[in-house]
Amino acid sequence: MTAELVRGQNHPLTQTRLEIRVSAGKPVVAGATLGDEQGRVPGAEWVVHPGSPILPGLEVSKQAAADHRLAVDLGVLPESVHRVSVLLALPVSVGGPVRFGALAAPFVAVTGLDGSEVASYTITGLDAESAVVALELYRRQDAWKVRAIGQGYAGGLAALLTDQGLGEAAQQLAHAINDAVTQGLARAVATPPPRPSGETRVRTASPGAGATSAQAGAQNGPGTAAAPSGTPDAAPSTGSPSPVDPVTAPAGAQAAPAGAQPALGGGRAPSSGGPINYTHPGRQTATPPAPPPPTAPPPGPGQPAQPVAGDATGWSMEERLYNQVWGMFEDLARTAAAYRSAVDFADSRMEQELDKVLSDPRSRIGGAGDAAREAARARHARLVDQARQVLDRDLAQLRAEADVVEPALPPAYARWDNPVWHAYRAPTEIPMALRLGDLHLPERADLRIPMLLRLPLERGLWIDSGRSSSGTASFTDSGQLRRLALDAAVAHAARLLAAYPAGEFTVHIIDAAGSGAGPLAPLVAAGVLAGPPAVGLTGVSGVLAQLTQRVDLVQMAIRNGATDALPAGLDTAQQLLIVNDFPGAFDDRAVTQLRYLADEGPAVGVHLMLVADREDAAAYGPLLDPLWRSMLRLTPVPDDHLADPWVGHAWTYEPPLVPPGSQVLHHVLNQVAAARGPWNP
């Protein structure tokens, strides 16, 4: 029978193998500390957390999730452990809630392995706390008991861990835990945009009408009549209530409970007979509207649907293109996964079959062995052929889609060689996203997916001027690589400047040794910088002090709800600090300030772009690891270091370098400067 505990109440545990279930409604970090007889935690190695998820007898999830299932085996815990404190904390710097008061009361339950609940506890009364000790399992006269604790800490994990007796290690450990949670995101390109429920992109390239009707049907809930075949993209009804798309759940592996974000009715009124849609057309919490009817003629029988630019959901053409690009990205990732898994399977099967032939004594006589080997190879070839056919079919369709999408992209999404840049004028609104380069897979190197990152930037950019680990850059010497990295940084900065309305994006440069004067010239000459690149120790500390102060001021204002009390002279534009040759001319204080900017800046509009070789900063040891991890690493030469959020393929990234001899960069920067002219003489 379940004991519903109140704060402070305890309950005996008869089993030693238990599961602790947590449900918090929003992603939380779960962990546990192991304490000795006095209740003190001897050291950081006695804490299970996402960065170190397994200790004997205890396992927690590596990610923040709305629901957790912690495995506990009290029987194999070390003898010295007398207390297990189960803790929950809100993940920092992921844009979620910062206090438990903003969530529904978290619920924890101790269950047996058969799922039977032993005790449960709802942690009520939390407010500004961002970390809480939920339960305590403790040894009392050779038996274990559970006690409901519910002790919250407004000071977060660090305060909680300090209270557990970790002392100075607490702060560091709290950082490590937060790092581990964010690290899961570090290699990922970004979280994909949510796909509206039930939406399937039309990409099945199986013959004509059959495919389209299948797709249209798939979008309808069960029970609705099938869409008449031959009418592609018959306005899909998004009415069937489905939960959020799994891939968008921050937890990744563990999904939020179904219905966590119930899809409202379709964005547009049903064409006939259905209930009236009362959704305000401008309200964006509803499912975005379905793609507009296609402008292309319906495909002839036996032809795949003609791809159309903007063939995705969204409130504007820009959003539709953004979603379409992400859809293509996912399709390519999944198509490649299907192909690779089929080929892997064919390989391993052939290997097994050949081994069998080898170990079979009969195959040594006559041609039986050769025949069997031949058959195994033929089976292998047949499967690989089939897989290749499917892959080629999908790639051809994606290629056709890319061919219509690329020319339709607005400047912020377009490559430099897109003619749209020649007609560039400073925008009046910030675009949703910015293209940071291209991504492709080895299966088809010429099928490039625009890598779109949401604006405003959520983390810093690191343009790696060091030698690539994969060796693709081995042909370039280090001087050349540094030059290329700066060129890439200038190209990124120019795109950012061009993406923001006039005067809403300010760029600072630290070039301590002045070594970047050549590549930085376009930015300097166009007069789009806040000032000349800062040189030398005083220059470095001046710029850092200015930006640090800005972060402090804005943070303070936001915390106190007094955003109108900011000094009149404060530049309200987003700030970008480009640092060349980090950590040259950086003293310890400057490094600390830079780390502060990297951590706290993005939330208040101060962004970082580091052009650096990690080797140069090796003297700092692991101190800077969190800094490198917090940034999105981009390379100046093609390099396969980025992972997609669905399957985790290694994608080759290509920077958005300006085509040789092209004047587009000058043209765009001059436009940016000209648009600012009247206000910034």
């Binding site: 379940t2 449900s23 269950t111 058969d114 563990q254 898994s341 399977f345 897989a387």
Partner: protein, 192 residues
């Protein structure tokens, strides 16, 4: 029209008009059974989970379940874990959508299972059913009533397998015990 299949019955997923089945959905719905007792009908949470195991040549190569909601190739999608079941609306509380045309070429069988994660047997759930639906027209291909089904915590429901150029479905309906699909693997293997 509902086809109540009997155990071991195989149906081809060819449609009447000659086209083959292109998308199927496995739906699962349930309610916790009320316990009679001093405090009335207080119910205990029941968590049933739907899973799909993808096999190539009798080797499991991918699984779609509450911890892996989309097969890597994207052809099989779980709509998300439901921990408590429905409130009796009769709809699917969990569903797995399979786009048969996008299944990688080496995968030749998909086995659908239902497990009681919280460990209650099917005797303790009400209105529990699992079904296979042709997603293109909403027609039910197979339906099992799980409640009152005996002291089992799992069922191996059906398998969808390649036959010629299309797919065929065989109803299995084998009761078993286990909290997740891993526990069922020994019971699944004989059906491949």
């Amino acid at each position: 029209m509902t086809v109540n299949m009997t155990k071991g019955q195989a149906i081809s997923l060819q449609k009447n008009d000659g086209g083959t089945l292109t998308a199927v959905r496995m739906g699962l719905g349930w309610q916790a059974a009320p316990r009679r007792g001093l405090f009335g009908s207080r119910t205990r949470e029941v968590d049933l989970d739907a899973s799909a195991v993808l096999f190539a040549d009798k080797q499991p190569v991918d699984v779609v379940f509450f911890r892996h909601l989309v097969s890597d190739d994207g052809s099989v999608r779980h709509t998300g874990d439901n921990l408590v079941g429905g409130v009796g609306q009769g709809g699917d509380d969990e569903a797995i959508l399979v786009d048969l045309q996008r299944i990688p070429v080496h995968i030749d069988q998909i086995v659908f299972t239902v497990n009681s994660f919280t460990g209650q047997t099917f005797q303790e759930v009400q209105n529990a059913f699992c079904r296979l639906v042709d997603e293109t027209n909403g027609q039910e291909l197979a339906r099992y009533t799980l409640d009152g089904g005996g002291a089992y915590t799992a069922q191996i429901m059906a398998k969808v397998h390649r036959a010629g150029s299309g797919w065929q479905m065989t109803a299995l309906g084998t009761p078993a015990n286990g909290r997740t699909f891993q526990d069922l693997m020994p019971a699944i293997l004989p059906h491949l």
